[in-house]
Structures are given as C-alpha cells and as structure tokens.
Symmetry: C4
Subunit: 477 residues, 4 copies
C-alpha cells in the first residue's frame, strides 16, 4: 500500500496545471479531466470532493475512468483541512421541515410526495428533478393531455374480482406500469436508484435502469431479487465500440448539476450547457441504419424510446423492434413536443390504416410515459392501446422524501387505485379496458385563449354571495 | 328489565377482546363488529358512543343488527364518566358564525346556501358533503357542462300563464326536479333527511330516499304526508336475499366519516378505505342478468341509476326498465367520468338512431343529476329530452344551514326561477321546452388550455384605466 | 289653491290604511298604490319622498297617474320634519373621489368612464347600471363574443378620405351606432336621459328613448334639436288601449331600485321581485298576432327588439317589420342567452338560405346591441351585415361621471376610433366593410375549460426571470 | 460664423408667435413647426431642447428640415439658464436598479432582457417600446399564436452537423431571422439603432433600417461593415417626390412620445393623436396602382410589409414583388388583426390552391414577424413555409439593458437555440424543417372561455396536499 499523502501536499495541487482531488479518502490526479472545461472539478482542486462527487457518480466511476498511475493513494488521516460547512439559515429551516414530514399514512396520492418534496428536498435535487426545457410547456402538457380524455364507464358487469396485472415485453408485471429511467438519484436520497429497485421487487414491477444513474449498473443489478426483471436504458455514445472507458457520467460534469438548476435558482448559461452536453455524450449521429448493428450484438428485445410521430413508430415496427416508448423525455428536450398520450392516438390510428394491425399487440408493444399521476391516467393509455405506462418523477419525489418506504407506499397507492378504478370502469381485467371506454375526441386540441382585455375585466364587479350578518365571526372566508 | 350496568364495568370492556359501548343509555357488546377492522368502534370501547353514532345510523340500527344476547341492558345513571367535551376556539368561532346567519330573505339562489354552509356547518359535515373523488374534476365538470349549453329563447308567444309541473314515472310533480338520494343527513342537521321529506311534501315534489340515510327508512316514510310520493334508492348488498340483517349502515363504519373528510382536513388513507367500502357493502358482482330477479320481486317501476353511456342506456331500455338516471354519483366515484347532461345528449342521439324513439318518452324516462344550481340548468336538460333532474347537495346545504325552512326556501327559489325563465324562454309549459331552444354543439368539448409561458406573461404590463387624481381617496379599487 | 296641509297631519298618515307622501311640496294620498306590495312607498309614508321619487319617475308621473281627488294640495312650509340626512363616512369618501375625477382629456376609451364611475357613482346607481340577471354570464358573454371575431384588414387601398356615416331606418347618422334605451337615468345624474339627447344632437346620432326613463317622454323630446331624430322604445302594457293611465314607472315601484341592487350590496329577494315585475307591467301575453294591431295604429316604421333566433327574425321579416334588434337586453333577462353578435351570424346565414336575401338590407335592417366598447366591435357587426349597433351602459357611465360633456367625449372617442380603424381596415366607407374582412369561424364556441387539478398545479414551481443582483432596489416588480 | 446669441434673448422667444429653441448649442426658429399643433415644441420654447430632441431625431434632422434662414446661429456660452433637472426618488431608485443588473451570463433567453428592461429602462422608453394599440390583444396574440403550433420531431437522423444558415432575398444570413425595423432607438440607449447594426454585423444577419430611427439613415449605414447587408423600411410620405425635405421624424412631433406612453403612465389623448399621426406622415392614399412607380425608381427588390390576408399576398405576387412580410406591425395598429404566423398558414394554403406554388420559394419569399421569443417560434414559421422571421422588441430590450453586448448575447442565445432545436427536431438544415414537423390544426382557434360563475367558483374549496406536521417550519409554501 502506498504511503498516505498529506492533505497539505494535496492542497498545493489546486490549479489547472496540477489538480488533485480527494474522494472517499483517496487522492486522484484529475488534471486531464479539466480539458472539458469543467469548472466544478476545479472548484474542488486540492480538496476533499467526496460530498459533491457522491450523488452524481457511481463509486467506481473515478477508479474505472482514470488510468491507474493517476490513483495517487490514500490521504493521510487528519491532515485534510476540514472544509467548513456552513449551514445556512435556509438549510436549517429545510432540515426542520424534513423532521416535520407527515407519516406515510397521510400521503394519499402521488401528488403528495411532490408537495412534501418541494418543502423538504435539497434545493439542488428539487431544481434538477422538477425542471424541464425552455418554457416547460411540454412538461406540463404531458399531464394536461390526460385531462382531455374522459371515461365512458360501463355498469352492471361482475367486478367482484378484478385483476390489473399484465405482461410487458414478455415479462409479468403486477400493474400496467414500470419505473422510468431517471438520472442522478442520489441527489434526492443517499441510496439513489436502489430505492426503486427494492420497491419494484416488492411490488413485482419492472424498473428501467438509467444510463445516468448515481448508483452503478452493477450495484443496481446486485440489489435486485433473483427473479427480478429490469430493463436497461441505453444512451448511445459516439464511441460505438465503447472501448474508451470514459464513463458517460464523467462527461456529465460538462453539465454540472449546479448548472442545470431551474433558472432563477442557479443563474447560469443553461441553454448552451445543455446543447453541449447532448453533443458531448449522446451520439447525435445515431440513425435508423444503426438499428441492425444493435440487433446484431444482443438477443434481448430492443425498445426504442422517444418516438414522437407515427412515421417513426412505423419505421421501428418495420425494423422489427420489440416496441417503442412514446415519450418526449419528460419535457426535458424539445419544448412544444406533443405528449406521449397524444402521439399514442395518432400511432394507433395510422397503424390500423397503414398496416391493418391493432393494439395492444404482443409483437410490437406501445409504451408511453410523461405526466402520469393517477391510475386513471394509466387506464386511459391502456384503453387507447398501450401495453404499459412509465412513471418517473413521482418515484423520485417518493424516495427523496421517504426512501424505499416512500416508493413502496407510492406503488401501493397505485395498486389500490387500479383496483377501485377497474371496478368503477366496469372492467374485470386489463384486457377489458377498451377504446370505447374513453372519449379521446379533444386530444389534439392545443388551445390558447384570446388575451383578455384587462380594461373590461377589471371593471367587472363580481357577484357576491349572501353574507353573514356583521359580526367579528366573518374572518374565515 | 335488566339491572343497570355500572359505567365502570362498561369501561373495562375497552379492547378487541371485549368491546362494549353505550348508545342512548343502553349497553351493547359489539366485539363481533370489530372484525371489519373498524378503528372507530374501538375508539369508543367502554364509553358512551351516542354522539358519534347518532348522525350516521338510524336509531334502530344497532338494535336490529345485534343479536339480542348482545343487548346488555341499561347503563346505571351517573356512573358513566363524562367524556369531557372540549370546545375548541375554532368551534366557538363557528358557533358565533351560526348565530350570524343572514335571514332567509337574503338567500337569493342555491349558491347562497352553500356559501353560508361553508362558514357555519360542522367541519365534518362540510367535508363529507362537499368532497368528491380523486381530483374532484368530474364533480366540478358536472356543473361546468351546463355552461357549454346556451339558450335560443323565442319571443312573442303568449306566456301570461306558465306551468312548469310535470309527471315523473307516472307521479305528478310541481316542478321537473326531484330530491336526489344523499347519505348521512344528520351530519348537517339533527333532523337529517326528514327536512327533505317535509319540504318535498309542501312543494309537491318527489324525494328519493337514500340507502345510507341517517334516519331510518321507516322514519322517513312516516314523516311523509298520506299522498306523498317517495322513491327509494337501493344499494344492492352482496347477500341478495337480505336475510342477514346487517344493516348496511353498520358496514359503513368501515368507512368512518372522519376518514372520508376532504384530504387536507382529515389526513387518512382515503383511497384504500373507499376501495374497501365499495367491496364491502355494495355488491360488485351485480350484473345485467340480475335485473330479471329484481323485476320478479316487485311490481314497482325500476329505474337504473348511474348509467353513463348510451350502450348501457340501450340495454336498460331493452330490459324494459322504466327509466334510467344518467349520473356519475355527484363526482364521488370515477373521476373523469362525463357529466349526466353530456351523456344525455349522446343517449338521445343514439336512441333515435338505434331504436327510432325520441324523448321525453313515457315508456322509458331519462333522469339526470349532477351540478344543478339554477332552474336554467334544469330547463336545458328538459329541452334535451330529460323528464326531470335530480338535485342533491344544494338541499343538504339548505337544511344544514336553516333546517326544513331552508329546503322550503330553496324550493321556492326554484319555483320562482322556473316561472320567470319559462316566460323568458317563450315556453308556456314544460312540453314547450324543445331541443331547438338550446345550442348544445359544444357539449363534448373537454378543453384544456396550453400551459402558459410564465416568462412572457409576467413581462406583460397590463394596461390601466384612467385614474383619479392623486388624493387620499384612491383606496377603493 | 287649497290650504296648505301641515306636515304634522301628513305624518299621521303613515300606515297601510292611510298613506300620504310629499313630493315636490305637494301632498298625495297613495294608499291605493300599496296593493302592489311596494315596501318602498310605505317607507316614506307620512314623509317627504321627493329625493327618492326624483331619479325614478318623471315629474308628471304622480300627477298623471293619481286621480285628482288624491292630490291633497301643498304642504305647509316649515312644518315638515326634516329627514335628517346622515352622510356616512363611505359617502364622504365617495364625494372626495368625485372631486378627484381626472380631466376628460385623460379618458381615452369607453372603459375609462366605467372605471371612474365605479369609484365615483352613488352605490345605488352603480349597482343598478352594472348588474344583470342570474350569474351575469350573458352580460359578460356579450362583450366576450366580439373577441372571437378577428379582422382580415386589406392594404394599399386609398383611404385618404374615410366616411363612417350611414343611414338607420331611413335616418342619417354620422356613425353606425345609436344610443340604446336604458332605464332610470337620474340615478346617475340629475339631468338623466337629457344628457344623451343633447350629446346625440351634437354628434348627429340617434337616441332611443326608453320607456322607463327618469325624465318624461315630453322632456326628452323637448330637449331635442328641431331636426333631431329619436326612436322610442315601447314596452307593451297589458292594457293595450292604454286608457288606464298607470304609468309604467309607478308599477316599477314593485321593483324598488333598492331591490335590484347587485346581490351582496343590497340583500333582498331579487329573483321574485323581477319575476313579478315582468308579470306586472310588461304584457307577457304579447304575441305575433298582435303585430298587425301595432301596424294599424302608426305609420312609423316598427322595429322589434329582443330577437334571439333566426326563426323569430324570419317571422319579423315575413310580417313586414322594418327591422329587428338582435339583443338579449344587456344580459338582464335570460342568463345563457346568446349575444346579439352571435345571433347576427345565424340570422344572416339563414336569411340567405331561406329567403335568398343578403345584408345590410334597406327593406329589413338588422340592429345589434350588447357588450360594445370599441369602434372595432361595431365594425365587426357591420362587416357581418348589421346596419348599426346600439350602445347603452357606456353612455350611462359617461354622464354619471361627467354629465353631457362625458357623453360628448365618449362619442368623440368613437368618431376618432372609426376614422382610424376604417383606415387600418382598408375601407373608405361603411359599405366597404364586408364579410371577408372578419374571421367569424369561432363565434359559436362557448367553451369551458376542464376543471384544473389543483394538486398538480400548486406543485408546479413557475420559472423565473433573470433577477437583479441583491440590492435594496428590487422592490418594483 | 454668426455672433453667439445670448440665452436671455432666446428665452424671450417662448410663444406661439415666436418660438426659438436651442439644440446642440445652436439656436433655431421653429415657429413654423407649431402649426402642427405640437405642444411638445412649445414646452421648450426659449429653452435648450437638446435632451428631449436627442432620442427622437437624427442629428441632422433639424438642419435638413429647417430653411437656412431659421438657423439663427450658436448660443452664447454660459448664458442659457440651466434647466434644473430634478432627479425624482423614483428615478434614483431606477438608477440603482440599473447598477444591479445581473451579468449577461445570467441572461438565459430573450424574455430575460425584457424582465430586466422593465425594471431598469427609463419609463418613457419602456412605455413606448412595450405598448400597442387599443386593448393590446393583437400584440399578445402574436406570441400566443405560436403556442397553438406543436412539433412533430423526427428521430434517428444523423444530426452530428447541423446548419441553420439561410438566404433571405438573395442575401446570406447565419440564421433564418432578421432584425425588424423599430422606431426611436435612442429612447432606450444613447447609441440607438447602431447597437443593432454592430451586433448584426458580428452575427452575419440582416438589419432592417427603420424610417423612424433615432439615428440618421447615414449614421446607420456608416456603422455597417463593408459587406454588411441592410434592408430599408420605407414609410411612404404623401409627397411622393420627396422634394419637400420635411423629415418624417419632425412630423412625429405630432405624436409626442410622451403621449404614446402606455395609458395609465402618461394620461393623454392617445387615440386621437395616433389617428392624426397616421394621417399626417404616412400617406393613406397609397394604393396597389402605385407599386409600378416604386418599381420604376429602383432596381432593388421590393418587399411589401404588413400583408394580412391571402388576397393581398396574391396581389403582391401577381405584381411581381420579391416578397412580403406578414405582419400586423407588432400589434401597434388594428387590434384584433390576426398574427403573422396565422396568416402564413392561410397564404400558403391559398397559393397552392390558386397558383399551384409552394413555399419556401425564391421567386416570392414569405417573411413573418410578431411575438417571437424562441428559436422554436422561428422554426415553426420555417416549417410552414416562411423564409425568415423578423424580431423587433426583444432586441430593443437587449440594447436598452446592455447596449451592443446585449444584442450580441441575444443573437448568441438564438444561435445556440437553433443548434439544439434543429438536433431535437431531427433536421440537419433549414431545408429539412418541413410542414410535417408541425401540427398547425388549431391555428385558427381564437377562443374565449365562457365567463365563470363566481358564485359557484368561490364556493368550491380546493383540495389540499399532505401537509407538514405543525411546526414553525411551514412558512415556505
């Protein structure tokens, strides 16, 4: 074992020319990573960066990606100057709020996790999880689109026993949902994505492992139960052979999570950073012709995520993929992209017209994500032909507020909602949830009301109700 | 008569193993009811539960449903420890507000009862009456749907005499409305549903008696005038023969009204409770094939409530029922179910197409409920083919605030509105209110506006009016 | 001349059995008027009622309508007990605001009069002028409907000279507007309707004299210039022969203006009063068959006001009337009646289809009223086929705030707006304002958005702009 | 050189009869300009008007437009009474806010400039730049219309290299945008329009020089780089030969910018002033027949700005113009005129139908302006057939807040947005942005929601989230 290095020595390597950092008690020379222009690394030059490194990278990332000769060895205990952590008044108030979280029994729906999360999560986590691109219009439209679909419930059907289990790409699921891949789980909770893995096991549903997870792929797979099915989300790197072991997550430094914060909370040049990030670690040259290469290297079923038109859906079908995810990436990419649920309607319609096939369809499955908060949202997608629906942010808020128990509780809420709503719909099983059960005629209506004429509006003196007689008791309303 | 039991003895039976309660001075052993998991019963184990029992159960419920050997006899006077009733400051303020209610002459429309009720009703009553399921979207849509229907009034018709009486399932009614069945009337007023019975008699309209009334069926029927017509709402129990006399209202304990409260006021696991409740006391196995059994046991006309599609309406017609109520149960069941008034349009259209019949139609009557606040709402339904319209919550608010006089006044408001609006519509009688008098072309438009871009909106500096010159007198606006 | 009566004697006649009042120094026995149930008369029994009488009745009303034997003669000077007029603090503040009115040069559009009026008018006048029926939805829809019509302006047309004069029912008007008949002008200003007469003369437009004016018909006619054209609005009384001289305005007592106040400001039983009033002094038995009788007694052209469907418009045409006013009476009658501008579209369409005629049309003119605030509103109606548009409330606010000068200024604003907007539209004259210049495709869209799910909405944390650096200067936004 | 004139002498010429003013140290007799009724000139009679003159007129305007004999010569130094400039508290606060502007790196999108501008710009500049005509409905609709167009992005296309340069009327542009002509640049920044010229040069885009610029045409052209392309906006004066050298900008005095202020901030008779101004200096007699005359005097391509219907677009095409700008002049002219982007859809549709041609089209180019804030807005117009899009107000806010650097930064933001959004759209070049990439089906929907019934709405008690337990930490939400 190498001789421990004094913290004072490390502290001298604090510049572009020589930049050392300490992570988990080891010293690394990361000077070569500075080329990417990452201000964030330089900020910790000569210091202990563990706390900053932790939520963004899997433990092995630095070891794997840095040549062995840059692993300089352990730091000498007690020699590293403590980075004085100032707990701001704001942070103190937040920690008090964390203590004041209500018991899980008071969390009645998925919205509630977000409400508590907003008050109790570290600002950085809240900002990253809740934000989206440009004016965040697609992000909110994802949810709003479900409100343009209404139910046509049937009555007097025997729904003594209802069963909402299903099969997704050949794998059983107790519910027609799966956990979407979302990045940087440790921002919200020290166990990160493992919270999702464990709750998914308990409830018998599928987790999609994100490329940009905080936990390593191995950690997440190891946390799974023996028979637990997981999907893997693959962001395709430029270097298709993946011989260079630059972990994508390192590249993510180029998009310092400090910098992805909601505009207003962390004011930095977000748009340029994002543009660069996409250029930097996701291959913008990926094209239809590459699909055959992927099929040549794996026997696993391939699903294409991010399809947003029937034309691309048809191409995926013609290329014999196993399915697609109709998704706009949670509103994080092109603003004014339509919601997955709206695209679903168009896809089903055109497949019928162009290929004569209907959905759900085992040979080619349609998955949808974005904006889901209730089992009724899911059932609308099912009625329209989807096999299952991905849910992402709500589970992030669930583990950020209550850890694995939060995710478990969130899934139980959904289980209960499925049971009740299947009964109310008059459907005994998922197969009984059919197109006639929804009115989808307004789905394409992207309406904007005419700007109001304020001069008229503020002249209007609103009607008022009957009022209590004049007493001091009038304060409530 | 049995020897009175000391309150101290009763107090010892306060556990799952032996649970006694006192109601109206009598002691009961209700241990066997604990199996349903009712926390609420256990809360009163060994104590006087009268006050809690009163608004939820008819007086005879416990006597009827508990085997005689569990009727332990009277409690010894003066031996029951007084449950100290703390009147909170909030409750004191509410009682002051009750005192400050305006005179009925200031209540100008049905909205006003709700406004006063919100300020003066016990929180539990307000929470239960005003709440609905999930995001309460269907609940509000019920009212909003009427706003998408506009009038085409006719002029220069002799409306010196107008007459808005009609016939509902063969029974005369002074107005084309009836009182919908609603549960737990004593939460709002000690006389509960009897307020409705009495006011209905005075105004010559029909009351639908709820299955889950606070007053007993007998009490309600007894309160009726000799010739007063009442309808009975039947929730069908699993045990079709109804030999077991478990009153449904006992089962309701499983859904403690404390627990049905609006989320936010009483934070408990609402969704699971509701799911269980439905499973527990309404038979989810009820199906079309059972209709013939019902027809075999009664000669009364049968109306099917809760129809929400033309398909089910047609089935009801083909099974020779007397009519249907197009209803989503006040938005208390499946959220995003459409309003009754919207379904009415589809039903009338399809009956014309499929069976060639038009409405109103004596052989098969269409009733509608949900969201009605004005006689104009009712007249829209009439124009579209309904025979009558059910009104529920407004009458609950009316008796919760002013007892029977409130309901009487509410009905008088409607009488006056019918008179005036029939004249303004150019219709002498209910039969003159025809489809051409409404424009219903927007009824299916479930619109959601595109999310606003706040960055643009808050940059817009609204125009302002001419302003008073600079004096101290400017404060009003 | 009769001997003056002592005020003390008058004061004794203060009951239902004998009710005397003093108006303009004369004593009247109005006991017989009490049958109508008018509380307001009784309030002044035995007292000087002049101040209350003044704004509601023309001076001669009581003389004309009361039999001579009830004219008891002059009251003895100095014997009437002064009714102590308490000026409330609220009234003092209002009078200060009146003093603070901005100069007319700061009144830029018709909205501005209303804004100033709201702050400075007597509460009773504001309440009566601004209110409408039920939920006041039609009242606001009248204005909103214009916002669904958009312009298609033409360019490169020589608009050096523009001319917006026109001819209404054969009479020249400098603008395609007229002053609608509105009731109770003296509530807002001591000169009442005469303000309108005088300003109309100055601007060469037509005033429609209301049946329920505060000033007498003779006063209004006398105030006109020799060649000034006036229209007369006729509310038809039950007693068609008009032999009984009960002035309609007396009947109006049944609808005490105190009682017509906006709900909330004066809490009384408004709906029943209004219903009775309509029954009481406007003949609800008036029918199409009566039209010929009207034509037999006058050679003046007859226009039918209040038409709201193409069916009735067609009937009026077939009965050879000179024209119609498409109107819902300013939203004061049937709520959810459609706006005049919307009905116009349907009428023009159906006349083309049924009779092959187009508009504008001299033989049968279409007038429209309701919700107009800008010359652009008027031009939309003109483009769609109207001959002229009636404007009512804005002129009431204009004279209530600035007397005749206000109305003059309001009309000048309209003149200027017509000049500018005709140029911008590319139309040299009113005839050049044609259907192609408007897009009316949304006119029938009566849309209501889906109720929002508040749980989602309040979780959304709005984006924020760039902010100033932290200084004390941030307060403005 | 003339002998300097004493300020005291000048001060005596302060009336309608003789009105002298000092500008840049020279004395001018401007008595003859008073005929236009310009109060603003009279306000400075006998005084130094430089500060007021500066932002509105190019330096040479007074020299060019006043006959030499009215150039009275230099004023004697030190003799002019200093106009005491009172800096109000409000102005002091504004100057503090100017100091607190955030660094440009915190300006993330075009909205941000406006947000900072609103807080830091001189009130007069903000009022003039941000205002529009009537109720400013068209002004806001211009932006809102883009929200009714949604994207259909394509995936798996090689977008490694993306290129958003294009050619506008034969001239290369690095982006499919140009800088619209906007008036009175010096109100916002001393360098006025030169800021735009310089930033346009740096980014290789085209500036349209306004007729009513603060800087002179020569100054703006001189500031351009040798090869920099500029367009010139020509407001056509009545005197077509332009022999009389009355600079239009002098005429603009008739519309004193003080008087164009947003109603509410500067209360003057805006509508009449605007009507007069249009009559005064833009020839309302301009007509299609004049086009040939313009073509006869220049060989430069002519583009017609302000086209708002397909009919006029077709006429422009048939008259062989080089293109048109679909524009409603930023909502500053006819309110309720439709947005350029909406008109674009109609124009493209009708050209296909009437002439069989499609867009973009080199022979006849379609430009659009109004309401643009994001590259996505531009890309929507491109997809629909526009060649380029004009952007105006955002650049005014950019230089008003940060001078030329602001405009440079604004353009860089757009460059970055184009790069990212082309990738996300799946388009390698501007030519790949095709109609199928947008859903424009809602573009004609000018919707207004039904007025809400406040009585119902305020009775609704909104659902609430789970809440923190009762601690003092609850304040954040």
């Amino acid at each position: 074992m190498t001789k421990p290095i004094s913290g004072k020595i490390v502290a001298q390597h604090n510049s572009r020319d020589s930049c050392w950092i300490i992570v988990h008690g080891k010293v690394y020379d990361v000077t070569e990573f500075l080329d990417g222009g990452s201000k964030i690394i330089l900020k910790y030059a000569g210091k202990d960066a563990t706390q900053e490194y932790e939520p963004i990278h899997p433990p092995s990332a630095i070891i794997d990606n840095l040549p062995p000769e840059r692993h300089l060895g352990p730091v000498e205990e007690g020699t590293v100057e403590k980075v004085e952590v100032r707990i701001t008044d704001e942070e103190k108030a937040r920690l008090q709020r964390v203590e004041a979280r209500p018991p899980l029994s008071e969390i009645l729906n998925l919205h509630d996790f977000e409400a508590i999360g907003r008050l109790t999560m570290p600002e950085k986590a809240w900002a990253y999880y809740s934000s989206a691109s440009d004016d965040e219009i697609t992000n909110r439209e994802n949810h709003a689109a479900f409100h343009r679909i209404w139910f046509r419930p049937r009555i007097l059907r025997d729904v003594t026993n209802v069963d909402w289990s299903t099969t997704i790409i050949g794998h059983a699921s107790t519910m027609p949902i799966y956990i979407s891949a979302t990045a940087l789980g440790k921002l919200g909770h020290p166990e990160g994505e493992l919270n999702l893995t464990r709750a998914a096991a308990k409830h018998g549903i599928i987790q999609m492992i994100p490329t940009l997870s905080s936990c390593s792929f191995d950690e997440i797979v190891d946390a799974a139960q023996p028979d637990q099915v997981q999907f893997f989300q693959l962001y395709v790197n430029k270097d298709r052979a993946i011989t260079k072991r630059i972990d994508m997550r390192m590249a993510f430094d180029a998009e310092d999570p400090h910098e992805i914060g909601k505009s207003g909370s962390d004011k930095v040049d977000r748009s340029r950073g994002a543009a660069k990030a996409i250029t930097g670690f996701i291959d913008p040259g990926l094209k239809w012709a590459d699909i055959s290469w992927f099929k040549s290297i794996t026997r696993m079923p391939l699903i294409l995520k991010g399809v947003q038109t029937w034309e691309d859906a048809l191409e995926a079908y013609d290329q014999n993929l196993a399915g697609i995810v109709l998704s706009n990436h949670g509103g994080r990419q092109l603003d004014f992209a339509r919601s997955g649920i709206e695209v679903l309607v168009e896809v089903v319609e055109k497949f019928k017209e162009k290929r004569g096939i209907t959905f759900p369809n085992d040979r080619f499955q349609l998955l949808v994500d974005g904006g889901v908060r209730r089992a009724t949202d899911v059932l609308k997608a099912i009625a329209l032909g989807a096999t299952a629906v991905g849910i992402g942010r709500p589970f992030l808020y669930a583990f950020s507020t209550y850890g694995v128990d939060g995710v478990d509780h969130a899934l139980q809420i959904l289980q209960d909602e499925f049971e009740m709503n299947l009964r109310l719909l008059g459907a005994g099983t998922i197969k009984d949830v059919v197109p006639d059960m929804v009115d989808v005629s307004n789905i394409r209506s992207h309406l904007v009301t005419v700007p109001r004429d304020r001069l008229y509006d503020i002249n209007y003196e609103s009607m008022q109700h009957a009022r209590l007689r004049d007493t001091k008791a009038k304060t409530k309303l």
